[in-house]
Amino acid sequence: MKGSSPSDAMSDDLTGVETISVLDEHDLIRVRQTLREHARRIKMGLVEETKLITAGSELARNILKYAVPPGGTVVIRHVQNQGKKGIHASFEDHGPGIAKINEAMMDGFSTSGSLGLGLPGARRLVDEFQIESKVGSGTRVVVVKWTR
């Protein structure tokens, strides 16, 4: 399972961190645009950029779908590892949390009657994927996509 945590050997970028409050559909647009800008800045390439933004869209939408009270935070920044550049994005909400992460990470599983592709689909689109969730306190998903 590709559940490795974002590399500890990464150096953090202390500038250019963007935080987006996700409260409604319009914020999803902002998340996508910001991810696009950052991906372009490090010359990620169209296919990888599309994968990153699609994953971001899925994860940000989850915040809208499941968090009660609605809302959460997306934090986007650049990272670097041995000369390779990447985009690091975290998606955090204080919603109900996921009781069985294993189930949620299976294709087709959904508690909301949708296609249930959000989490496992998003995971396939990025290079590093980490999820923490606690019932009653919320969920945090962190993804990293590197330039090839």
């Binding site: 500890d8 050997a9 150096s11 953090d12 970028d13 202390l14 500038t15 250019g16 296919v47 650049h78 670097q80 041995q82 000369g83 090839r148």
Partner: protein
């Protein structure tokens, strides 16, 4: 004590192909070795007391490279990276840098930076990469067989990187040629395990989303057998054992004008 300092300084300056630089905790240059002079072009007098950022590119300065280096090396004991540096004359070179915290545990002095010029290595690596890319390109060309029909002969092993390139090429060709049929010849694929089958399937699905049907050709009987044993199902994908038969099928499916063609041999 005096003697030891001279010995150490002598050692530091004896290294001519590495820039050995000592920084204080704020990142200002405290010691500048002979190697640093040779590599950067600045004499000690010109840089002592100045911030290490004078050696960085403007972009790196904006992005706060030095603070990142210090934070990382303080946290993990060592920071190693490659990046562009700038000499006195303004020339850029690709440098390999190691930054370590310096001083006694309870008497932190600053940072030790050892860097070397990796320009030649980098150029070599880049031309190697270019050669690898060209080989990859040559090994999966997409050929326009007829008005509506593309051929994609796959030879060798498939990994995720190669599959992505292959798929990108194919989809681009489908778009520019407005092709509706792809003949994917896999007679040259070394081994088809579940992973490879997945790669092929994903390529076929992506082509389908762009309106193109795929016909597999060159699937050898032994390969077909092992696939079935592995439980690999190719579902609705049409398959023919020879390119000839695959082409015949393509013509019967497509909208190409074949009124002046005739087929000889092969199954009807």
């Amino acid at each position: 004590m005096e003697n030891k300092q001279n010995v150490y300084r002598g050692m530091m300056n004896g290294v001519s192909d590495r820039a050995v630089i000592l920084l204080d905790r704020d990142g200002n240059i405290r010691e500048w070795s002979r190697g640093a002079e040779l590599i950067y072009g600045y004499s000690a007098g010109e840089v002592l007391g100045k911030h290490i950022g004078i050696l960085h590119t403007p972009e790196d300065v904006t992005e706060g490279l030095s603070s990142r280096e210090f934070a990382s090396s303080s946290a993990s004991g060592c920071f190693e990276a490659e990046g562009w540096r700038v000499t006195k004359s303004g020339k850029r070179f690709w440098s390999g840098v190691v930054v370590t915290p310096f001083g006694e545990p309870d008497a932190f002095v600053g940072f030790l930076k050892v860097g070397r010029d990796l320009t030649r290595e980098r150029e070599r690596e880049q031309s190697l990469q270019r050669a690898r890319d060209e080989i990859r390109e040559l090994s999966t060309p997409v050929i326009r067989l007829w008005d509506n029909i593309l051929a994609l002969p796959i030879i060798g092993t498939l990994d995720s990187m190669r599959t992505l390139r292959l798929t990108e090429n194919l989809l681009e060709k489908i778009r520019t040629e407005e092709a509706g049929i792809v003949i994917m010849d896999i007679s040259g694929v070394s081994a088809i395990d579940t992973q490879v089958a997945q790669y092929l399937l994903k390529t076929i699905q992506a082509a389908r989303l762009m309106g193109a049907d795929t016909i597999l050709s060159g699937l050898r009987p032994e390969t077909a057998q092992s696939m079935v044993q592995l439980g690999i199902e190719l579902g609705k994908i049409k398959s023919r054992s020879t390119l000839h038969d695959a082409l015949k099928l393509a013509f019967s499916m497509g909208h190409a004008d074949v009124s002046d063609l005739s087929f000889s041999g092969g199954a009807p």
